[in-house]
């Protein structure tokens, strides 16, 4: 927590304005999002695993009834949104750490943007596809 407070202090004022131009809200926002979504993802993982444990021989009807319940549907969509937010923050962090001018010289910015756009497209596809799977069938 001390680390976050330090970050928050250093992100304040003019630096924060720069970050808005940099299409980042602020590190603290991402920090919160990453942790909220992590809790949702962990809960969903345990929920699905729990279903496996409770159902000794999983056949089609048992499997289908899990995903047909309104509880699972809502939980799944929430998790899907959490996953997209979580993966975006995570992948953004990784790209800004490893696709930089240190490793890729002048091309780093273009390369990073192409990769981030690819991540954005994939996650959007996951979201739409996932809604179709969880709600559409």
């Amino acid at each position: 927590m001390d680390y976050v407070r330090a970050c928050y202090r250093s992100c304040g004022g003019a630096a924060m304005v720069n970050r808005v131009i940099n299409f980042r809200r602020s590190g603290i926002f991402d920090w919160i999002i990453q942790r909220f979504s992590a809790v949702v993802l962990a809960a969903y993982t345990i929920f699905i695993l729990g279903n496996f444990l409770l159902c000794a021989d999983m056949d089609f009807h048992a499997w289908k009834s899990i995903f047909d319940s309104i509880f699972t549907r809502v939980f799944s969509i929430i998790t899907l949104i959490a996953l997209c937010a979580h993966a975006w923050v995570g992948m953004w962090t990784v790209t800004t750490d490893y696709i930089t001018s240190v490793q890729f010289g002048k091309n780093a910015t273009v390369l990073r943007f192409v990769f981030q756009f690819f991540v954005f497209l994939i996650l959007t596809a996951y979201l739409i596809w996932g809604v179709q799977i969880f709600w559409g069938s």
């Binding site: 089609f60 990784v94 240190v102």
Partner: protein, 124 residues
């Protein structure tokens, strides 16, 4: 726009103690899961279509290729989850000392082996 924030270090010059390896694996497993989710969604979609399709997925998942692929995704998921829980505990101020960090990493690895063992035992 001149950015006054410090430039991050050249990672090729940095030594990797156990905690650093644990951290980098958290990232690698995260990147793996980014792609793995697509594979999981694909199998989920087919398995929910009909009884015949469900059986087809079950047979497919018994094959060596799919077993190793799904196994890898499962490993990444278990690792990422446990490393994530450790991360959240650190955020709460638990295990932040140098000694605590070492102990935390060891506990994390033990948990990883345990959970993986249980998962493998249950699934196969």
């Amino acid at each position: 726009m001149k950015d006054k924030r410090p430039v991050n270090l050249d990672i090729t010059t940095i030594k990797f103690p156990l905690a650093a390896i644990a951290s980098i694996l958290h990232r690698i497993s995260g990147i793996g899961l980014f792609f793995g989710v697509g594979i999981l969604l694909y199998f989920l979609q087919i398995s929910l279509r009909s009884e015949a399709e469900f059986e087809r997925v079950a047979v497919l998942l018994d094959g060596l290729l799919m077993t190793s692929l799904l196994g890898l995704i499962l490993l990444a998921m278990i690792y990422h989850l446990i490393a994530g829980i450790k991360h959240l505990l650190l955020d709460l101020g638990i295990g932040e000392s140098k000694q605590g960090a070492k102990r935390g990493t060891i506990i994390m690895w033990i948990m990883f082996v345990l959970v993986t063992g249980v998962a493998v035992g249950l699934l196969w």
